[in-house]
């Protein structure tokens, strides 16, 4: 059975339910932030790496002339190679239930029963596939709207149409979401591949190196072993790809960065909040501390009582925050990370130490935050405690008060406003702590919303590369004039340009080759692409125009920042040798532009490319501006273009709309933006709770003062006005300083996030709307937090208030 002092603890907690709720919530926000950060980070990193490890993801891919499984097996025996397997990838078009075809990459696997590189795991249906059967990657199955048992029709590059039966689904950790990858994936046997008219030999060698499997130097050394062997077999190395860090890795690192940084800040702010609340609680309890001392309580007994109170707050906070953090982490994983990065978690289990950390934070944070106020409060002598009349704080001696006094002589300040200002300044320590929470909360909230706006601005700047509506990609180069004529015949086409696209590798001075990258060839005077220059100039509008004569004799190229990063010696003015379709030619770099987040790319003039690729007068991409720019309008035109080209016997590889490109770009940021918004909401909650705590506590302390005001004739309205003015003053001060601070934080955060995620700073955009919205949110919080306690105070009669114990 509890003794009376412990009953007092419980009764105090229950009788001051609102205070208990606010303080517990303040702690809960901190525990929740720590919980979400730790739990999400742990599950995300653990399950992603476990998934990748289980998938035996390749360290490098070598593209070479056809080879068989025996050669792959021999290469797998090299000292630095853990395993090597051949793969053949055939890009096909599949006609699911939608009108437009979708890309389906058929991956032929030599041996389904013993996959040592890029292993896939069967999920549903039969395994392994037989002749004319296909197993779809689980996300591809969903994206195509297909079902097990269904027969799907695939169209090959040569126009041949074949039917494959979907017999099951698998999980391939090497493949991200089809939306992000831009294609769906299915797995077939070499026998099926042969049935489609392709040789059973492979063109891609996938290797997994020995540990350290993600070290670039180690992978390059292993590649040297492999390539030497391939060359000695008489094969040429066409290109290669080193896989150290994927886009998913960068995304996860960025998310972890956000979670860690903001988690710490939110915990700190929550700590301030608790200190504030505990200081106020102790101030309010001083007379009771006096009474307890009077009737024989020792200091440590009183300390124990208040620390127990604090512990109960902590227990309540943990009880709320712990499960909520688990649910949030699970939601973030299953709703955002898993479908986008194609992670299949084995478990959402949170290791016990992580749970213990959350419990420890929940219990220790309030105890640590409350220790100083409790020690200070219980140090007071019995006599001082008993003479406390419940109106703490000092007013009148500080610099601000003196300035205010001078200001009063110059300006006429209404007395209620004056009282509100003086009240605000009465507890300077509490005021400072509240303002710190609100200012930091404001600054970070507005900065986060600005980063979100910067993400949008960045995506829009990517669209400077795609200033058209629909792109029609041809299977093979066709005459520009013919393509232009065909497109113009389709209603809804406003204007068009014919571009070319291909691939190239750089041949370095030491005869080594770079990874393969894209080549985009645009016509002179293109208006469908207008990138901002990092340095140098854009492609010559016209070789005869002034200022371009210096490069008129050379093949001019503009490279994007991805390629410039991958090949650091590339700079404006440098001559580089490019291998296009097996033909080498020297090109001069005239400019560097930002990436459009679609990998290393070189931009050339269409005529120069046609000459280099030996496709004079031809193009492969028809870029069209439509009369409608919305998704439905673009989709409709894409369908009609596809059908019209097909009717004319022009072989279309696929179509893409800029709305889809924009959506794909946004997808990359979806996870990051979602985490940023979660952090913004938590910051808003901490800031709001901070203001609410301070206002509520201020009012609880001032019940007697309200009585005095009403005794001398103040109406309820006047009391409300005084209280409201105080809340609004705090909100306005913190908003002003916080917004100013956000102007410094937002660009730094925006730059850091861009560099972490896409290796370039985001296109910075400050969210004025976010700052204004936060001002009104703060005002609303101030009003709610102030008027609640004020209403309670004015409900009491003057006699009750003045007799208030």
């Amino acid at each position: 059975m509890l003794t009376t002092p412990w009953k007092k603890v419980l009764i105090d907690l229950w009788e001051h339910r609102m205070r208990t709720l606010i303080v517990a919530l303040a702690i809960a926000v901190g525990v929740y932030a720590v919980g979400v950060v730790l739990t999400t980070r742990e599950i995300l990193v653990r399950e992603y790496h476990s998934d990748q490890a289980g998938g035996l993801v390749a360290s490098a891919i070598v593209y070479t002339q056809p080879f068989d499984d025996d050669l792959a097996a021999n290469l797998g025996k090299l000292s630095m190679v853990a395993a090597a397997e051949g793969r053949s990838l055939i890009r096909t078009r599949v006609y699911p239930n939608a009108k437009l075809p979708q890309d389906l990459v058929l991956v032929s696997v030599p041996n389904f029963s013993d996959m040592q590189v890029n292993a896939i795991t069967p999920l549903q249906g039969a395994w392994p596939p037989g002749r004319r059967e296909i197993i779809l990657e689980r996300l591809s199955l969903a994206a195509l709207g297909a079902h097990i048992g269904q027969e799907i029709t695939v169209e090959l590059d040569n126009g041949a149409v074949r039917t494959l039966k979907v017999i099951g689904s698998v999980h391939d950790p090497a493949q991200v979401s089809p939306d992000l990858a831009g294609a769906t994936f299915g797995y077939i046997t070499s026998e099926t591949l042969a049935g489609l008219g392709f040789p059973e030999t492979h063109a891609e060698l996938r290797i997994r190196v020995t540990a350290p499997a993600h070290d670039e130097q180690h992978i390059l050394a292993a590649l040297t072993q492999v390539e030497d062997q391939l060359k000695s077999s008489g094969r040429t190395i066409l290109s290669r790809e080193v896989i150290t860090r994927s886009r998913a890795d960068r995304l996860i690192e960025t998310v972890v960065l956000i979670l860690t940084g903001f988690g710490m800040i939110i915990l700190l702010l929550s700590g301030f909040l608790v200190v504030n609340a505990m200081s106020a609680l102790i101030t309010q309890q001083i007379p009771q501390i006096g009474v307890m001392k009077l009737i024989g309580a020792r200091r440590r007994q009183i300390i124990a009582l208040y620390l127990a109170t604090v512990l109960v707050y902590g227990v309540l906070a943990v009880a709320v925050a712990l499960p909520l953090a688990g649910v949030t982490a699970r939601f973030l994983m299953s709703g955002l990370v898993e479908p986008l990065l194609n992670v299949m978690p084995e478990s959402y289990a949170v290791p016990l130490p992580f749970t213990m950390i959350q419990v420890a934070v929940g219990l220790l944070l309030p105890v640590l935050a409350g220790l100083a106020p409790v020690l200070r409060g219980t140090r007071i002598s019995t006599q001082q405690a008993l003479s406390d009349v419940g109106v703490g704080g000092n007013y009148g001696r500080g610099l601000i008060e003196r300035l205010l006094a001078k200001l009063q002589k110059v300006l006429t300040i209404q007395r209620p406003v004056l009282l509100a200002i003086r009240n605000t300044l009465r507890h300077k320590g509490r005021l400072v702590q509240t303002l710190v929470v609100l200012i930091l909360g404001t600054a970070l909230f507005v900065a986060v919303i600005s980063v979100r706006a910067s993400v949008d601005a960045t995506i829009n700047s990517f669209m400077r590369f795609h200033q058209y509506d629909v792109s029609v990609e041809m299977d093979r180069p066709d005459l520009v004039a013919r393509l232009e004529q065909a497109a113009r015949e389709v209603p809804g086409v406003i204007s068009l340009e014919v571009w070319s696209a291909g691939q190239a590798t750089r041949v370095r001075a030491d005869d080594t080759k770079s990874d393969t990258f894209k080549v985009v060839a645009v016509p002179p005077a293109t208006t469908f692409m207008s990138p901002e220059m990092i340095t140098g100039a854009w492609l010559p509008v016209d070789p005869q125009s002034p200022g371009t004569s210096a490069v008129a004799d050379h093949n001019a190229i503009v490279v994007n920042s991805d390629l410039a990063d991958a090949e650091p010696d590339i700079r404006v003015g440098a001559d580089v040798v490019l291998d296009i379709n097996g033909r080498k030619a020297t090109w001069r770099v005239i400019g560097i532009i930002p990436t459009d987040s679609r990998g290393s790319t070189v931009y050339v003039s269409r005529d120069d490319y046609a000459y280099a690729a030996r496709t004079p007068g031809a193009g492969t991409l028809v870029q069209v501006k439509a009369d409608r720019h919305d998704a439905a309008g673009q989709d409709d035109l894409a369908t009609r273009l596809y059908q019209h080209f097909d009717d004319l016997g022009l072989s279309v590889s696929g179509t893409q709309t800029t709305q889809v490109i924009q959506a794909e770009n946004k997808l990359l940021f979806t996870v990051v933006v979602a985490f940023l918004i979660l952090m913004a909401l938590l910051l808003a909650a901490v800031g709001g709770l901070g203001l609410a705590t301070t206002m509520s506590i201020n009012m609880m302390e001032r019940v007697r003062e309200v009585g005095v005001l009403r005794a001398i004739g103040a109406s309820n309205g006047s009391v409300r006005q005084i209280v409201l003015a105080e809340g609004v003053a705090m909100a306005a001060i913190s908003w002003g300083i916080g917004t100013a601070l956000s102007l410094v934080i937002a660009p730094v955060l925006s730059q850091a996030l861009g560099l972490a995620l896409i290796k370039i700073p985001l296109t910075y955009h400050y969210s004025i709307a976010g700052a204004v919205a936060w001002f009104f949110i703060l005002l609303a919080i101030a009003m709610v937090a102030s008027l609640g306690p004020a209403r309670n105070a004015v409900r009491l009669t003057v006699r009750e208030v003045l007799a208030y114990e």
């Binding site: 509890l2 003794t3 002092p5 007092k8 307890m292 009737i295 020792r298 440590r300 002598s381």
Partner: protein, 230 residues
């Protein structure tokens, strides 16, 4: 009066408070002895130093100089914690504004000193004693009500019951009737008289000369000095 038999012994007790206007001397060299079982009334005008004097005896406040002995204890040498423990066991204090804990029932308020002192071992025993004390002061029926639910006179009775919780040798009351009507004040005084009859030593601060006249001894204090009744 024999010094050795005195329960309370004050020797040259001085108390100065620091104020913005300079030091304020609340007590100026008080010498006083109170015998066991005595009912001493301390009278004087407002601000004379009556409450300060009681605060010195009960250990609520500390002297700037001088000696205070209550029973065998030299109060001025004890720490704040030691004083609290000692007071909880040996001194009961009653104030004009009751100083009850508003969130606890009347009985719980009375049980609180027993809990802090660790006396009357079981919670059941403590409650029984609390009910007994409340019965002695005539409000047993209000035991489970909150202080806000009873009248001022009843609250003061609860405060007296609480002061008696650990059966102290000394009861100190600072203007205990100041907030009560004359009828209630009279009833309260009768309780004090009964307690003195039962052997308690009573130290009463009041500015009501009629009530003070009913004490066995009176000291008059003015400007921090005992001017009559030493």
């Amino acid at each position: 009066m024999n010094d050795h038999e005195a329960l309370i012994h004050l020797k040259d007790v001085r108390k100065a408070y620091q104020t913005p206007a300079g030091d304020f001397l609340a007590l100026r060299g008080i010498d006083l002895q109170v015998q066991t079982g005595e009912f001493l009334a301390v009278v004087g005008k407002s601000g004379a130093g009556k409450s300060t004097l009681v605060n010195m005896v009960t250990g609520i406040d500390r002297p700037s100089s001088g000696e205070i002995r209550v029973g065998a204890q030299a109060i001025q040498n004890m720490s704040e914690d030691q004083v609290a423990t000692w007071r909880g066991k040996h001194v009961g204090v009653v104030f004009q504004f009751f100083q009850l804990l508003p969130m606890l029932t009347c009985a719980q308020n009375v049980m609180m000193p027993m809990d802090f002192a660790g006396l009357y071992s079981s919670p059941r025993e403590r409650r029984q004693r609390a009910l007994l004390l409340l019965e002695q002061v005539g409000i047993a029926e209000h035991a489970d009500k909150l202080p806000s639910a009873v009248s001022g006179g009843q609250r003061q009775r609860v405060a007296i019951a609480r002061a008696l919780a650990n059966d102290p040798m000394l009861l100190a009351a600072d203007e205990p009737t100041g907030n009560l009507d004359s009828k209630t004040a009279n009833a309260m005084f009768e309780v004090f008289e009964r307690l003195v009859d039962e052997g308690k030593t009573m130290l009463l601060v009041t500015h009501d000369r009629d009530l003070a006249a009913r004490a066995t001894r009176r000291v008059h204090i003015a400007d921090g000095e005992i001017v009559d009744g030493k």
